[in-house]
Symmetry: C2
Subunit: 395 residues, 2 copies
């Protein structure tokens, strides 16, 4: 079969194909940048419009209680929790990933007083690295970095000095998926606590935070969750840590009785204490509406479709782009892939600029990587093939 025939067949048998209609994709565009900003779910505009016009405009201040705004960080948190493999009552939505990570790292380190090492993924997303350095400085911890392929080794080397190990589940450049369960186990064997950044994983790969014994996780919701530009981040804390949870961003919404306006912080029970300042409602209701696109979809279905897309992408590169200066950077072993394909090419920037002009939207990461995000809910095998053909035409 030709690649065109294969694409047609895979799309015809794709159980998630109808989910594409849950998104408003502009005509004439192949959108492979949903790992950076997810496409617009169809329900968002109406929901946000209602929140503005009715809840804010007419019901005014009463919407905090009667309209459910106060509980949104928890209710939306639980909806994301389902995609994290997390039981209810362990996930909160709010703030940015930067702030969530900072908060989590300090809370995690406080669970291991006396230990002095904060170990960080050397290839992690910039904001994670900057905030890890900031948290380590405030706590007087030694910041160590290790590449992910030697992370377990670095965990063992830190041994009984390891307080916290933090890393991204999926490499934002290469799309490589790391062994969350194994690295968490290694960290626990050393007596440390893990903080995973799931920004490039949630909504794209199956996660099992509860089963894998993960301590803390954070992530953004504007990538595969399609929550909108700068949609609020989320934070997960395993239930076993709730009673001792001692985080620095002790905002009033995490108080046991916020409206009692007590002079001292008295944390709420459970994950509710992990709320902080007043939540950004408009961004939060957009995310809530966006998550409806996942309501009847199982993470395993997403994984199957995602791996089919990335495998087909790599096959098409092999078939159509051989000898044209492209290297497939993303691992070829399915179990090591997140939900993007990254190609290296010396003219990456130029090629991407032209692709975008022609309606094929991906992005680049310095110095020479072309990234293509594969959202299982709205990307088709035909989209993948069309993109590779365009790269063929350009090289």
């Amino acid at each position: 079969m030709t690649t065109a025939e294969i694409a047609a067949k895979l799309d015809a048998h794709d159980p998630l194909a109808p989910a594409r209609d849950r998104f408003l994709l502009p005509a004439g565009t192949v959108y492979l940048d949903g790992n950076s900003l997810g496409a617009l779910p169809a329900k968002v505009a109406r929901t946000v419009g209602h929140t503005i016009t009715k809840q804010w405009g007419e019901d005014l201040i009463t919407s905090w209680f009667r309209g459910g705004w106060l509980r949104l960080p928890l209710t939306v948190g639980d909806r994301i929790g389902r995609l994290l493999g997390a039981g209810p009552g362990q996930t909160v939505v709010g703030d940015t990933t930067s702030v969530q990570l900072f908060n989590a790292l300090i809370a995690a380190a406080r669970l291991r007083p006396g230990r002095r090492v904060l170990l960080m993924d050397a290839g992690g997303f910039p904001t994670d690295r900057y905030l890890a350095a900031s948290a380590a400085r405030l706590l007087g911890l030694e910041l160590r970095e290790a590449p992910m392929d030697r992370f377990a080794e670095a965990v063992r080397a830190a041994g009984d000095q390891l307080a916290v190990a933090t890393a991204s589940a999926v490499d934002f450049r290469t799309g490589e998926l790391w062994d969350l369960a194994g690295l968490t186990r290694a960290t626990h064997d050393a007596g440390g606590v893990v903080v995973w950044d799931l920004s490039h994983a949630t909504g794209a790969v199956p996660l099992a935070l509860d089963r894998d014994g993960i301590d803390f996780a954070v992530g953004c919701s504007y990538k595969f969750l399609s929550g909108g530009p700068g949609a609020p981040a989320y934070g997960y804390v395993a239930r076993r840590h709730h009673d001792r949870l001692d985080h620095p961003l002790t905002g009033w919404h995490g108080h046991a009785d916020p409206f009692a306006m007590e002079p001292s912080y008295r944390p709420a029970d459970g994950i509710a204490r992990y709320r902080s300042g007043t939540p950004h409602i408009l961004s939060l209701v957009a995310l809530d509406a966006a998550l409806d696109a996942f309501c009847d979809v199982e993470p395993e279905q997403i994984r199957a479709k995602s791996l089919s897309l990335s495998a087909f992408f790599i096959d098409c590169v092999d078939e159509h782009l051989a000898g044209r200066g492209f290297d497939v950077v993303t691992p070829r072993e399915p179990q090591r892939r997140g939900s993007q394909v990254t190609l290296r090419h010396k003219d990456a920037e130029e090629l991407m600029a032209t692709l975008i002009e022609r309606g094929f939207i991906g992005d680049v990461r310095p110095p020479n990587l072309l990234r293509f995000g594969l959202n299982a809910l709205y990307v088709s095998h035909a989209d993948v093939l069309a993109t590779v053909r365009e790269l063929h035409a350009l090289t």
Copy 2:
């Protein structure tokens, strides 16, 4: 003249009366809770709708650059800066007031290494107190509290040990406006740095951060600025501190070149470094649209109208509610008033519940305070009189 005649006359000569049409207020409602959640500005729904449908839905990822999203924390910051008496390039919008305050307190303390006292307003808003305690703990500072009427004294007592003094410009319970210039001067005389919380002041009282030599300020934008539920907060840093600005929330948007994805944090020049994580765009564009209501209004006009409303409110209480168990808690001297009137009554909760049922919306603060916020852009003297008359009918 009767109070009704006075109200009619004051409203007829109110130069800000036309500004009421910039807000969508539900019929049959007198809204005096704009100090908690500002009313809906008429332009917000359309602007947010456009951002969702066109910028996110059609232009997708390109809106970060071409649509101006990346610069919104700075451009909206400058718009708020005008109301703060702050020249351009000193104000950033993002995160919550809790997070902004935490970030500011640590940055402020780092400007005064070796000094060990963080002095806090003993009656400050809960989140401020909780976050000040958290920051002091992380830095190993001694947290001292002083009531505002003895704050200057406490500043002098801390003397050369004073690192940071932090307080709210307007008391959230009583509506009392404090002497920002004087307390800032006293703090500087002791060699300390100030961090003001302007949440109940901005958009309500004239501010002159630059003229008064204020070091840091933070505040929320969902009260008198009407930016929407949980609208992003703002942070001001005086230009003279920018080069040494060393804040803990070093997110990637504050990097000199965020998209270079460099391994180490290299701060942007000027206030741009004070950005942190990815901004919540939907909430931010709502705020941007809301600020249009202020575009041709001078802070002095707002102040004049606000004082007229609060003076008239107190006159009406004196005239219509004498002997009915109400105390006016808000200062009677105009220069000591923010933009709310607070009444003490033993049945505060019950009274407010009935008022709200009847369409007069204020709120209560424990244990026995009725709060009425007076937004000069949309509250009339007739609204004030109607509210007092309703209280008369209820007592």
